[in-house]
Every structure is written in C-alpha cells, then in structure tokens.
Symmetry: D2
Subunit: 501 residues, 4 copies
Amino acid sequence: MENWDGKEGTSQIQFADQKQEFNKRPTKIGRRSLSRSISQSSTDSYSSAASYTDSSDDETSPRDKQQKNSKGSSDFCVKNIKQAEFGRREIEIAEQEMPALMALRKRAQGEKPLAGAKIVGCTHITAQTAVLMETLGALGAQCRWAACNIYSTLNEVAAALAESGFPVFAWKGESEDDFWWCIDRCVNVEGWQPNMILDDGGDLTHWIYKKYPNMFKKIKGIVEESVTGVHRLYQLSKAGKLCVPAMNVNDSVTKQKFDNLYCCRESILDGLKRTTDMMFGGKQVVVCGYGEVGKGCCAALKAMGSIVYVTEIDPICALQACMDGFRLVKLNEVIRQVDIVITCTGNKNVVTREHLDRMKNSCIVCNMGHSNTEIDVASLRTPELTWERVRSQVDHVIWPDGKRIVLLAEGRLLNLSCSTVPTFVLSITATTQALALIELYNAPEGRYKQDVYLLPKKMDEYVASLHLPTFDAHLTELTDEQAKYLGLNKNGPFKPNYYRY
Amino acid sequence: MENWDGKEGTSQIQFADQKQEFNKRPTKIGRRSLSRSISQSSTDSYSSAASYTDSSDDETSPRDKQQKNSKGSSDFCVKNIKQAEFGRREIEIAEQEMPALMALRKRAQGEKPLAGAKIVGCTHITAQTAVLMETLGALGAQCRWAACNIYSTLNEVAAALAESGFPVFAWKGESEDDFWWCIDRCVNVEGWQPNMILDDGGDLTHWIYKKYPNMFKKIKGIVEESVTGVHRLYQLSKAGKLCVPAMNVNDSVTKQKFDNLYCCRESILDGLKRTTDMMFGGKQVVVCGYGEVGKGCCAALKAMGSIVYVTEIDPICALQACMDGFRLVKLNEVIRQVDIVITCTGNKNVVTREHLDRMKNSCIVCNMGHSNTEIDVASLRTPELTWERVRSQVDHVIWPDGKRIVLLAEGRLLNLSCSTVPTFVLSITATTQALALIELYNAPEGRYKQDVYLLPKKMDEYVASLHLPTFDAHLTELTDEQAKYLGLNKNGPFKPNYYRY
Amino acid sequence: MENWDGKEGTSQIQFADQKQEFNKRPTKIGRRSLSRSISQSSTDSYSSAASYTDSSDDETSPRDKQQKNSKGSSDFCVKNIKQAEFGRREIEIAEQEMPALMALRKRAQGEKPLAGAKIVGCTHITAQTAVLMETLGALGAQCRWAACNIYSTLNEVAAALAESGFPVFAWKGESEDDFWWCIDRCVNVEGWQPNMILDDGGDLTHWIYKKYPNMFKKIKGIVEESVTGVHRLYQLSKAGKLCVPAMNVNDSVTKQKFDNLYCCRESILDGLKRTTDMMFGGKQVVVCGYGEVGKGCCAALKAMGSIVYVTEIDPICALQACMDGFRLVKLNEVIRQVDIVITCTGNKNVVTREHLDRMKNSCIVCNMGHSNTEIDVASLRTPELTWERVRSQVDHVIWPDGKRIVLLAEGRLLNLSCSTVPTFVLSITATTQALALIELYNAPEGRYKQDVYLLPKKMDEYVASLHLPTFDAHLTELTDEQAKYLGLNKNGPFKPNYYRY
Amino acid sequence: MENWDGKEGTSQIQFADQKQEFNKRPTKIGRRSLSRSISQSSTDSYSSAASYTDSSDDETSPRDKQQKNSKGSSDFCVKNIKQAEFGRREIEIAEQEMPALMALRKRAQGEKPLAGAKIVGCTHITAQTAVLMETLGALGAQCRWAACNIYSTLNEVAAALAESGFPVFAWKGESEDDFWWCIDRCVNVEGWQPNMILDDGGDLTHWIYKKYPNMFKKIKGIVEESVTGVHRLYQLSKAGKLCVPAMNVNDSVTKQKFDNLYCCRESILDGLKRTTDMMFGGKQVVVCGYGEVGKGCCAALKAMGSIVYVTEIDPICALQACMDGFRLVKLNEVIRQVDIVITCTGNKNVVTREHLDRMKNSCIVCNMGHSNTEIDVASLRTPELTWERVRSQVDHVIWPDGKRIVLLAEGRLLNLSCSTVPTFVLSITATTQALALIELYNAPEGRYKQDVYLLPKKMDEYVASLHLPTFDAHLTELTDEQAKYLGLNKNGPFKPNYYRY
C-alpha cells in the first residue's frame, strides 16, 4: 500500500547500480549482513492494529527454532506456530469485510482458474493477505510466501497460515539478512518451481532475476502492486530485459482512487488523532500537494472544520484546489501561522529546515506522501535541537528558545505508521491482484508480450462490481437499445481508456 | 458548451447520410428552407442573462436591412447595429472576468503570434466570444464569424462586434436557411480565404467540406470545441477524409473539469431555483449517472441538504458514488418517493413513460446530460395528459387523476436553458481555443498530420496557469534539485498523459 | 419575512416620536401625503417570482376604479379583478407546497376553531398568504386584509382573493397615502368589527391604536410576525400601554431556524447568481456577522467552494465560526483581497466608505442582514463616484481610477430583492400564524394577560410535526416506560424552554 | 465530561432513596464495601491516551503504602510518587493547549482573586485537571482533590500534583470503598475546612451533605459540571435543602456546544476507528437522537461519506434533521440494512433485543448518549448468544446462526471509553469552572441566594474570548455609535438570554 500522486519520483532507484551487490549470495549459516540495502519500502515502519502476542514473545530467532504445524509439516518459518488460533480469528474477521474474494471462492467451487498455478508471493503478511492467499488456494493455486517489509508481518497471521499448510517465511522484525533468506526459501525449493510471481515492491522479482534467472522460462507473468516495483519493471522493460509479461495493478482505477483519495481521506484524521489527540476544528493546516493523496487529506480536514491551505507546482491541480475552496499559497506565506503541515507530494525537501525554523510553537509536521524525504528530517539532527520522544511515533523537537514542533513518525508515512488501513481498501487491492493473476495465467499465448500492462478496464470494472454488494448498491443495466445507442457492450467496458473518473 | 460524461453517444450522427442534402446550395435570393436539418446542437434553446433590447425589436429580417457601422462598413449582418453600445458594455463586463485572454492581449503588444491568420469562426455569439474574437484580433488575426446556434446570439454583442469592424453574421432567431446563409457569408468572400477554422458543433467545417473543399488547401488546421464536432472529426479521420490537422479542445482537462464538474455543481442549483423556487433542504433527489456532470450535481445538492440517490451502469463510477456517500439504486426503487429526477447520462430513454407514470405529485424532472433524449418527453405527448405552461421553461404535465409533474426545459439541457454559465468557465474554454489556434497556426511543418489531436498537456497547464491570478493563487516552483529528483522539467508538463486528476 | 440574528437594533423606531403625525386622518379625497413615514419594512423593495401581468397594466389608480367580482361584490380594492384566474393558478401551485395548512383545512371539516373570529390582517399579499387566508376562512374566520408593504403585493393573487370573496385592499406600487387608506378600509367598516389582529411590521396595530383605540375592547389578541412589530409590542408592553395579549411568533424556533439559517443558506446563492451570474468556486468572501443568517450564508458558500472569512463582535459566535472552519478576521484585514462582502449583522455602518474605497475592482457588496444601513450606501453618493445601473438591482459604482464595485439591491436585503423565498419556509410561518390565532382566540379567560407571549413550545412542535410529511419523515414515539424515565409527556413538549436546538 | 442532548432523564437518581445507606461510615481500617453504590458516572470506564507506567505497577494498594514527596510531605495518596516526572511532562504538554488558564495565571501575577479560597475538588484527575488546579493555586487558592471516577485517574499526573504539593487522593482502579475514603480524606482534615466546592457528578457534595453538614456554614458556593450533579442540585433546591449558592456550569453555551456538538463531531470518528478500523465511506449509519450529540455525530459521518439516517421523538429536531439532509426514519425501518447503530438520546432501551436480533451480520452498535441504558445490553446476556472479546472495548456477540454484532464499550459511552477528548474542549470546561469559582467566591453578599444559577452570559462570553487566540481569531469591536444603535454595552453581553446560537 503506497501512496502516489503522480509526481512520485523514484528515479534514484537504479537497478544498474545494484548489480554487483547480488553476487554475494546469502548463506543459511553465516547470516552476515548483505551489502545491498533492501528496497526502501521494505523497511518502512508499519503499525498493525491487532498484535496481541508480541510482547510476551521470546527472543529466539525463528530461523533457529524447530516448529511443526499440527499436520506435521515444518515447511515454514514463523515466529510462533502456537499463535495460529489468534491469527485464525483475525483472518475470519477480515473475511467478513472482503466480500469480493469470498465471492471468487464461491465461484471456484465450480471452476479452478488457477489449477496448476504455482505462485510465489512477497507482500505484507496481514489478515487480508491471508484471505487473498487462501482464496488463491481455493482457486487451485499452490503458494509460497515471504514478507515484503521487515516490520509489517502479523506473527499470529503468519502462524495461522503455516498451520493451515501454507509455506510462509516471515516474522515481525526481520533483519535484512532474514529478509532475503525468507525470499530465498520461497523460491529455492526442491521439486517446486513457481510459474507466477505476485510482488509488492519488486524485491522478489529482483531476487529471482539475480539469482535464478532461468526460472523465468517457466514463469507466465508477474503481478506487481507498488509504485516502486512498477517503476523497476518499466525500467527493465525499457532496457529490454523484461522477459515475461507483467501486470501493473498499481495504476488501476480502483486501486488509485481507493488507496489514495478515499483511504487518505480516512487515514489522515485517524493518524493525527491517534498520535496527538488534537482537535481538528478551527485548526490551520497546510497540505503540500493536491494530487489524489492531497485531495483526500484536504477534503477530510475541511469537512472536520479545519482551515486548509494548499501548495502545488502543477497549475491544473492548483486550479482544482482553488475551485474546491482552498487558498493556494507558497509554503513560506503561511508557515508561521499554521498548526499542521502535511506533505503529499512525492517530492523531496518540500519542508526544509528553514521552514521548520519558522514554524510556530506546537506545530505538527507529518508526511502522507511517498517517501520519508518530503520533510528534511535529517536537517533536524543538529546539536542545538533537542529531540524528545513523547509517545510512540511522536517526537517533540525542541529549539533553544523552547519552541517545540511535533514530528510524527519521524517523517515517514503517517498512515502506514500511525493508523490502520481499512480492510475494505485492502480488499480492492487483493481482488485486483487475484484477477490479474488469473488473467495472466489463463491468457492465450501471445495476448501479452514481454511488457508491462495495465489491467484491462473490464477487469477493473469487475473488481469494482464485486465490491458493490458491500454497499447494497444496485447497478443499472443497459437495455439493448441503449447499448446500441451508446455503441457499448452491455457488459462493459463502459469508458474509453483516457477517461479520468 | 456541452456536457459530456464519457457515455455520450452520438453515433446517430452520420455524415454519410447527409451527403445528398448538401448538393442543394442555398441561394442568397430564394431563402427556401434547406432540406438538410442543421445539427441538433445548433437548435437547442439557449437562455442569455442579459438581453435588454429584444422585446422592442422590429420584425424585419436582418437580411433585408441595410445597415452600416459608424466607419461606413456594411460587411456584416446583425439584428440592429444601433444596439452596439449596449453590447460594448456587456463585453467590457465580460473582460473583467476573462483575465487569461486579457493577459494574452498584453503579451500580444510585443509579438503577434496570429499575424497573417485568417480565422473563420462558428460559435455561440456572446460577450465572452466577443472577448475571444477581439483577442484573436489583437494577436494579429483577421476574423469572420457566424453563430453555431440559431437562438443563442446576443444581438447587442453582435452589433458591438460589427461596429468595431468584425464581419459578423448572426442574430437571435435565425431560420435554418438563415443559419447556412450566415455561414456561407463568412467563407464565401471575394479576395479573402480562411486559413484557420474555429468550430463548435462541426457545422462550419461540414459546410466548407461540402461546398468549398478546395479551401482546405490553404487551411492550416481546425479547432473544434464540442463533443458532437469532435465526434464528426474522428469519423472523418477514421474514413481517411480529414485533410488538415484538427485540435480536439473538448477533452482538455481544464475544459472537462470546468465545463462539467465545476460548472454543473453551480448551475444545477441555479437552474432549479430560477425555474421552481424550490427549497433544496431535505428534498429527495435521484441523479441518473455519476460521470463528471452527475458528480457535480450530486455534490451541490448534498451540500445544500438534499438526500441524493444515484443510478449508474458503470461499476467504477458506482463505487465512487458509494464512497462519496450516495445510495446507489435502480431508478425503479426510488421513483415513487423522490422529489426531483435529474438525468446526467448521455444515454437515451433513461427516464421512461413508465417512470413518469409512477412519480409522485409535484415531482420535478430535468436533464443536465447531453441531449434531450434522456427523458422520453415524446411519450408525454398523449391525449390523456394535459400540458400547462406555468412559467417560461416550466411545464406542468397533468395526469387524469390530477397528478402533476414539473418538466423543465421540455427535457433539454437545464443549464443551457434555465441558468447562465459563469464567465469564468467560458474564459477557460476561450483561452484554450485561442492557444489551440496559435499552436496549429505556428506549428512547424510536420508536427501535426491529418489527424485529430488533443491539446498538448503543457498548453492545458498553461491555460490553467493563466487563470490562477483570478484566485490570487501562488504556484510553487520546483528547485533544480527537486526537478531532477522527479525527472521533470521545471516548467512542466508535470504529469503523465494518463493522469486522472 | 425578516432576518434577525439577535443583534438587530431597532431602537431608532420610536412610537413616542410619531404620536402627533397621526392626528391627521387620511381623507379619501385629498390623497395628500401623510406627514408620517410608514414603517421602514413597508417600503423595502420586494421581488416576486411570478408577475405575468403587470407590464401591460393601465396606470389608473385602483382607488379610482369601479370593480366588481363575479358574485357582484365590490368590497375590495385591487389592481385588476380580471387577473383573478392567473392568481388562482399561483395559489393552487402554492397549496401543493403548504401541506400543513392543507392539513389544518382537512381537520376543519369537523371542527371550526375560528368560528366567529373576525380577523383583520396586514401582511405581504402573496400566493402563500392567500393559502393562509383561505385556510383561516375554512377554519371559520371572516377576514379583511391589507398589504404590509407597498411593493410586495402580487396583483393577480389579490384579484383571486377578491374574486373568491375576500375583502382585500392592496396593489403593487401603493403610495404612502394608499397604504394607510387600504389599512383603514380593512378596519373602518360599518357593521363589522375585528376581534383578532394578524400583523407583520406593526403598522396595522399602530393604526388601530391611534385611530380606533376602542376597538381593542373586542379584540382578543394580536399575532405579530416581524422583528420590528415585536419590538414595538414590547415597547408598548413596557410602557404599560398594551391592552390585549400579543403573540410573538417571530421568535418561535421553527421560524427562526427556517427564516434565518435554512432560508439564508439557500437564498444567498440564488440572490448572487440571479444578479451577477458569478461562479462561487474559489471566490474569497467575507461574511460580517455569524448569527443564524451569517451561519446560513457561510455554510452555503463554503459548500460551493468559496473561501469564507467571518467578522464578529460576540466571542461565542466567533468561537463557533472558528470551530466551523472559518477564519475570524477584522474587516480591514481582508477587505483588499475579497471578491464578495456580505453583511448579516443587524448593525449599522458595518461596511463604511473607507472599506468601500479599499475594495478591489469588481468586488461585490450586498446585505443579508436586517436593514439597509449595514452598508453605508449613502456615503457612495458623492460626485467623484459614477453609478451605473447594469441590471435590475445591480449597480456598478465607479471610482475615478476606473475601479468598479458591484452593489446589489442598493444595500437593501438581497434575499427579499433578488431571490425568492421558498414556499416551504413561508408555509412554516403561515402555519405558526394560524396556530397562534387559534390559540389566542380559544384561550380560556386569564390564560394570557396584556403582555407579549412566545408561542407555547408545544405549538412550535406541532408546527414542525405538520411539516414532516413533506419529507416523508417518520417520527419515533416514546414508549410509556421511556416517557416515565425521561419525565416527559409522550406528546411533548420535549425540551426545556432554554433548549438551544 | 458528560453528554446531554436535552432529553436526558436521570429522574431515577433519588437522593431520598439513598439516605439510609450513608449512615454506615466507611472506616479507615475495615475497607468493607459500602452498601451504597457510588454514582453511575463514577464507575464508567474511561480510557486515557497516555498511560506509560501502569503495566509495570505493583499490586499494593496505595492506601497501604508510605510515600513522601521530595519536600517531605505525605499528605496525599497516589499510586506511585515516583511517576511524578512522567506526569509533569503530560501537564506541560496540556498547558500548551490550555491558553485560557495560562492567561488567567498571567493575570494572577497582579491580583489573586482566590486568595483565601479553600477549594475541595472531586473531578477526573487528568493532565488538564492538573493545569486547572495549578491555576487555582496561582490565583491564590488552597486545594484538596479526589477523583470523581474510579477508573479515570492518570496515576502519573496524580503523582506530579502530589510532588508539587497538592494533597491529591486518587488512583486508577479504586474500589468503591477507596472512592469514598479518598473523598473523605479531602474534607475530613484537622485545621482545614473548605469554603468552596468544585464537583463533577455530585458525589463530593453528597458526601459533605451526609457526613459534615455543618461545613456548609463556611462554604460560599458549589460549582458543578455534570448533568447528574446539576440534576441532584436542582432536586435539593426544589426540596428546599440547598443551603449555599450553586453554579450550573454544565449548561453554559460554550460547554454545551463544545462538549456536545463539536467534541462529538470529532470523537465519533475516532472512537469507531480505534475500535474497528472501519471505513466510513459508503457505510449506512443510523443515529438515534438529533440533539447536539446526534448533530455532531451526523455531521462528521456525513462529511466522511457515510449515508446517515436519523431517528427522533421531537418534531423540531426531526425537522432540523430533514433540512440538514438526513432521512428521518423509525429504527425498525432501517435496522436490517444499516452497518452502524449509534445512540445519542439520553433515553433508555432505544435499541432493544428485538432490534439487535434483526441487525445484519457485522453491524456495529455503540452509544454516544448519556448512560449505558440506551442499548439494552442486558438483553444480550442470554445463553444462546456467545460473547467474544476481540479487542479491548470490542465484543462480538454471536447468534446461533453465526451472525455477529460488534458491540463497543459494552454500550457505555464510546467517546469516554474508546477515544480521547481533545485538550481544547477540556480547556473550555476548566476555564468555565475557574471563572465560576471566582464569581461565587467574590460575589457580594446577596447576589446569589441558596439556589442553582447559570453562569452569567458575560462570563460565558469571557470564556469564549479567552479561547480565540488559539485560532488567531480577531474580534471586531463595536464603535460607540454602533453600540448605541444596538442598545448594547460595548463589552457585552451581546445576546438576550434566550438566544439559541
């Protein structure tokens, strides 16, 4: 789940620069740190709503434990298989809010569109992912799974998956070495070779490229969810090195609108409340960037009675901000007066030390954008400033004159760090992933070449339609006469590709 | 100014079918009716806010009058040249809200990007068009102009233009024959041949195609604003018959968002109030279609305290409606209980006689969509129903049991018929047209082929930027470092083409 | 229909000062102007949505005409009895939106709570008033009626009432002398003496006090609707001169919230659009005063995308403005930057010449407050400024340097002058008046003394309940157990008197 | 902090019934349970945002511990005096958001309006209360304090107060016996007798009445904040037993609007998110009751894209709900379809077992109203239903067919249990309390009698004005001329007492 408002710039991520680092293969024994850093997204801190059992956990590394599930299998590596029951409960709760996947499962009683599929996955391991994996299983696939982030795994969910027979290799608080070891355990198996990849961030794809390039001969396609991963795929494609079709599910309409606009509309309030207990009414807020993320933040804060200013570089988004009722300013013009600064740009150094110096006492600073470079947090690590951790994810940075600014999540993504993502949003992403896997796996020879594809609009529409029953929403059907008049197929797609929604 | 929410279907407009009708050339003397019907959009009724002088006008046809402007020219045909002063005042008022064109004029003091351009235009003739024409003049162009709609001409504005030397051929209430005669007078001139076309609806382009195809040898390009006209151009292009480059300004971002989302957000309230004086608070409304037009209508009505239901055929738009807080229903489910029905689909027969039969007493029915076929008004022309015109644009249709429904504008576009379009919206369209003309006129040989083009994103951004000063909005500029990080040029374009805004 | 936000100050209206002026009785012949000015509210200009017939009217004074209705009666004086049919249609339309009065009529088929009542009324004469009068008739009352405003009478409605037998004395464009003559004709009748007064502004009450004080012996009570009239009654009461009970219906909850908050929420948009066709999105607006009227204006403009600033003198209302998301400023701080200035204070000289001098070009200035003194319009009548009437109710005031400000309705009430009041709002007021008449007329001896009363809360609740069916709203009833728990009667009243809603 | 929407009914709380129970005096040794139940509000569960130290605490009762602060005093009883430093940090943070009290302190450098005051207090013990107490100290008062709720004390704050010399007797998790023991320790002191009471819930007042009635001879007044406590005072007053003046600060405008409307607008979202991580967009919600609390909940949920239905018993509030855009229904009509049920009535059994039986799977049920009787939770304690505690404050109640409803906080107040109250809201209440104490303490003999008073409007306005600087809000001052015109004092009060805001 990454945010993107169209200005995201990850051009600094260079596959080329990283080639050599991967010649050193991680050994199972040595566990020395890999010289190559894992992708940024895989180390972003991540909060999870429900983690009942972590505090009492022992400190032994899962890699050193001998664990078996109740059926005697030990083809997994999780924190504590005994937590399976807790995890199962979380999964059951998630199932109730993921109607689309449950609908796919029901369908799968008749047909198994993924029969024969061997999927290796690398995503956040949460209850929602578990629902996805068990759905893929119900559709006929075999799965092996690792985590795409060293902090985000819910141990009890991983345990529940392991208990029900999924080879899962993930735990909360992996080291970098653990991270790659887990991925390797997913793909480097005797007698099993993946034919589909589901990736989030590109690390799994990268690993196979570097270590097991021959595997691609059997692989029918890659489904990638994240901005970063998609960017890497486009670069591979541009360089002529992409050797299987890939599906960019990040840019599907439903994902964009839900993960960005709607999800940020909800999570900005939640993130601010949980960290600061602030009152929104009457507060002056400046939101940097008016892409989908910024639009969501602005809408929510305005609705709750805040006075919102917007900064933008793009005149079209700027004009939208104006028409939506926000004063468009340069950050300098309002920096002395605002109570909250929120970055949503995908850019870097949007909030500089100079801005931070001029903020008023108690100003809250946080980031909803893409990476942790939007606020120049590094510039605050100077001797004259005192840092005081007042709560989890909340630092007071104190100036010599006593002025404090309240920095949230050290400038990392607020909604990943300090709020939870509604299951419903994750349901949309997970359903899109499942359909993309089905599409690529079943596509007739030649439909997809060695390139990066957007999800066919019809499937985007299908994902949406699977989520309508949640709202008890009733779609209207075209009559034959109307379909003819509009020149449309009655079952869609209903819009040209360039339609903006 | 036409609405379009992506589902518009004008496939019934067939160039092919109309070939023969144009062999009969209108004679200047005969004034017999042309057998060919003019385009639908050119006969839509059209209200204008300010028309001071019409009521006292005489009934003589302008074509029979001998008129001269104060400089002695008679190369025009308007209702009454003496109304020029009134029109000039309207133009001056409009200038105050069209800052972008005024900014272009200022620039033109140095360079004349349209020097040598001979533009023939066919658009609504309003104060805003006058500001555009006089701007084109200031940029160096010569212009000749006709009206694209037989009702929409503001006579006093046409007079003011004629007085200041523009050959304008237009008046309110033209006959079909007048319509073509006016167009012909624009292009069929001794010693003057157009090299640029600015069209709205495609009738002018069509006329030249049929009558003076050789003119295209000198024409550098066509700029077309309307859905209908763009559709015709794409058909020409598909048929291999488009012989000059054409610019589709209808689908530019700024036009789409302003003409549809923002403009409808404002005009739906205005249209309903002016016709019915209804109170919005607590009223139950069903909006058919959740494209840009529907989104605008829903947002405004919800904001004013109405309870809004939405119908949709497209599951993605449907899901957006849900997330935005609207119950998604089939029309049948709510038709008995709603106070207002608004169509915004671009489809036909969305509201059928059966629906109309089931509506409750006093239900208001109106259309904000594309054409007048969305409500099956024809089905109400049956003997058992009584029509009562209670105000201009407001009919009561009365059932035998006394039930009345309130039909606005006889099902034609409410915002064209019963409200006014804010000058600011028209300013955006006019600026886009001016820039498209400049682009096509100055494009180096070969940049544009015989095809239909979208406005380059950079120009779309430029139009937006020219309108920011109206809001005293201050754009942020990228630093060199940021531009590099994002991989963007500091001056834009700032987004990929598929960006949805 | 007057606005009031709690700060209204009519202390300048002095009964004492006006004593002498009324010794001169208007003669039917002389028609010379009375030296006493009629109340301010009776000369406020007033627009009416539907007036079909005025333009073609002859110029003869109604007082000089001999007219008879179809039943031969000539006990009325209206512009033109022949317009009765047009007026009847308007009344029928109004009936459809006044469900509460129609419900009272239905009830009246059984009981006639106003049997024997002789009501003399002085209100605006509109279709809605006609529905009220005919309801009072259905409830058993005899009525005689005059207009409370010299401009507001709808002639065709007055004709319809006269045709159906109501002695109505009113027309649009009365002189001051006509005004008092009409009132006199209502009360000064052989063989008929009123026993109830329904007044709007206090002029009728005043007239009887001065001319026919003995009439009060038979009068059971006064129902007064307006701020001004209520103020006069309280002054009479304080001076010990009020000799019958009076009901202040102005301060009933439903009237306050509807006439002010909700009605202004709707009419501010309508008034601005009809006069200026402006776009609301992105406009900067300052609203002076955050009482009910200001709250309504602010809510509507914010909802339509304007950026709204508020000025206030009361810290509680100011804090509400803050919490509702508006920047609280002094007018000076924003006067140079705003696009619109709206006064809603009830105060005077809120917008001074100094403010007007500093406004930017094209700034719109208007008044939604109580009287026309909020904007110091008089200060604009100086030689260096040019006034230009650009539309009805719209003046451009032009400074020597060319700056124009757009003054609406010459600073009088925008919503009375430039928009229409929804029938539904008027229905609430009319129903409240009817119930207040019934209450006073039927009250047992001694329940009401010679004082000014607020409507009993239970009747306020009853008015509200009569309007719920319009919204198909279903009220929940308390169970016996719940009523006991809450210590409430199941039928209300449900709130203590000080409850703020 | 209690909610009240005007329909609150605490008539079941009977002082009379409780007389006998209090003859048994708690002994310091015995610690046997008192037969009398403490007030309901004192046992409501209460969450606190920041409680760093509780988990590691020992289990010894504070009453059994020997503790001294750094100055050697042991006149206090808190959980652990060593937590003082943590508590001080929380107090410092709170000070930053309580500008009004800090402003009073600044003033107090000159005058000490509470010099000689001996205040005994019984309130929630939080950082905000600490700021209040230290402000009272700075104003010249001596204070002794107990907790009004057995769960709500922040131990580290109590420690910080004890460390800085305040005799505080309170800890989190008191028994009922502890509760009364603490109160007794505040008032039953050698050589110190209170002359002012600050109470929240009435338990302290009650205790003094029953145990030390003679103390009232020296007591100048009672300041009471809660609905319950105010209700008790009115009963005492009615019974002629109130022997000192009392100030009802619960019904001050600022408290009502902030604690109810604005605070609930913010806390409903927070409470739902923290417990369920649900998405608001598109969810169907029914809110029972449209008083201030219901208005706040509805506004927030609508703003976040939920579809909100309202139930009401009062037709005026019902009409407001309609005008604000909510469908007014009976609970039965929507109970099968809604995703969330929220009670805000002050009534009991609003949600019955029958309703609960008909809710759909996963429906969330919670209470924002006054007491925990609004939802008939008791009816769910039947054998066929399974309760499953899924998170803190979240129960799944499972029907035999597998249907689950999600019950929050076991039907107790959601915003007390599952969200935090913004400091700013508490600042308003605390400031009002401080000003009420000053007013009563300094009032000249005879201004206040043995009755219950509302805060003078001028002080209400003063509280508001002290909070405006937080918003950088600039109040406009009346000119002399304007004040005269309005008949107002330039410094207020600005509104009549019945003004509704």
